[in-house]
């Protein structure tokens, strides 16, 4: 799994590529937390365009980030998810606390 970070005002954009499972989540979780706490960010926005696979570990990863962002009054969102990832997101019910957007533009408009 590869992670790249971008900044857009008060939003940290986390671009994930590759496979999201329990193993890769363990590897990147602390890194994402560090990137988020380093800047003066409010929201966390995941770009899932390059996600090739995700199991329920990805739901856990998002749940944990919702907790971190909530401490700073921020929200977590994601965009560019594939239909397969979107299916898992709705199955899990996490869409009630993680906002799912079609694209970056829509996401940034809603979050800022």
């Amino acid at each position: 799994m590869n992670v790249e970070y971008f900044t857009q005002d008060k939003t940290l954009i986390v671009c994930i590529g590759g496979e999201i499972d329990h193993h890769t989540c363990k590897l990147v979780k602390d890194d994402i937390e560090r990137a988020y706490s380093k800047g003066s960010y409010k929201h966390m926005l995941f770009d899932f365009e390059y996600v090739e696979f995700m199991d329920s570990s990805g739901i856990g990863l998002l749940m944990g980030r919702v907790k971190s962002a909530a401490l700073l009054g921020g929200q977590v969102g994601l965009y560019n998810a594939s239909p397969k990832v979107e299916r898992l997101l709705s199955m899990s019910g996490i869409t009630k606390i993680v906002h799912v957007y079609k694209n970056k533009l829509q996401a940034l408009k809603a979050l800022t």
Binding site: H22, H23, K29, F53, S56, S57, S92
Partner: protein, 142 residues
């Protein structure tokens, strides 16, 4: 002609092997020429089952053995994930959505729910102190 084949693999209960398990199972069932979607569903189910073995059965110690038996007969596939870990005291409770015993706050408790959604049948047999077997079946209906 009846299509019939089987495969058995075994690996250490290390999280780095989750990807290996998905790839191996997917390569085996590719022989049936399933759709990309079907293969993805099987990979999801396998990933969840193997992750359960690593986190719960062997409690992250990385020293256990996980066995995967794959087979198909015509268009019905079966995957069995077996561990000799600590076992599940209450299988029904463990299979409840959002139920988790994990201390890690980033675990969603959705493993069995995903397995049941991706596959047609999921059988779980477990004995405390002896291990767990998760047997899943799916008809490819080609």
């Amino acid at each position: 002609m009846l299509k019939k084949n089987e495969m058995e693999i075994q690996f250490a209960s290390q999280s780095v092997n989750e990807g290996l398990a998905r790839t191996a199972v997917s390569a085996f069932f590719s022989q049936l020429d399933p759709t990309v979607e079907t293969l993805y569903d099987i990979k999801m189910a396998v990933s969840e089952a193997v992750t359960n073995c690593i986190i719960h059965a062997y409690e992250g110690n990385g020293e256990g053995k996980i066995t995967i038996k794959c087979a198909y007969e015509d268009d019905t596939i079966s995957v069995e994930i077996i561990d000799q870990g600590k076992g599940i005291a209450d299988v029904e409770e463990a299979m409840t959505a959002l139920y988790t015993t994990s201390d890690d706050e980033d675990r969603a408790g959705l493993g069995f729910t995903v397995m049941q959604s991706m596959m047609d049948e999921v059988f779980v047999e477990s004995k405390v102190g002896e291990g767990t077997s998760v047997k899943m079946k799916k008809s490819l209906g080609n």
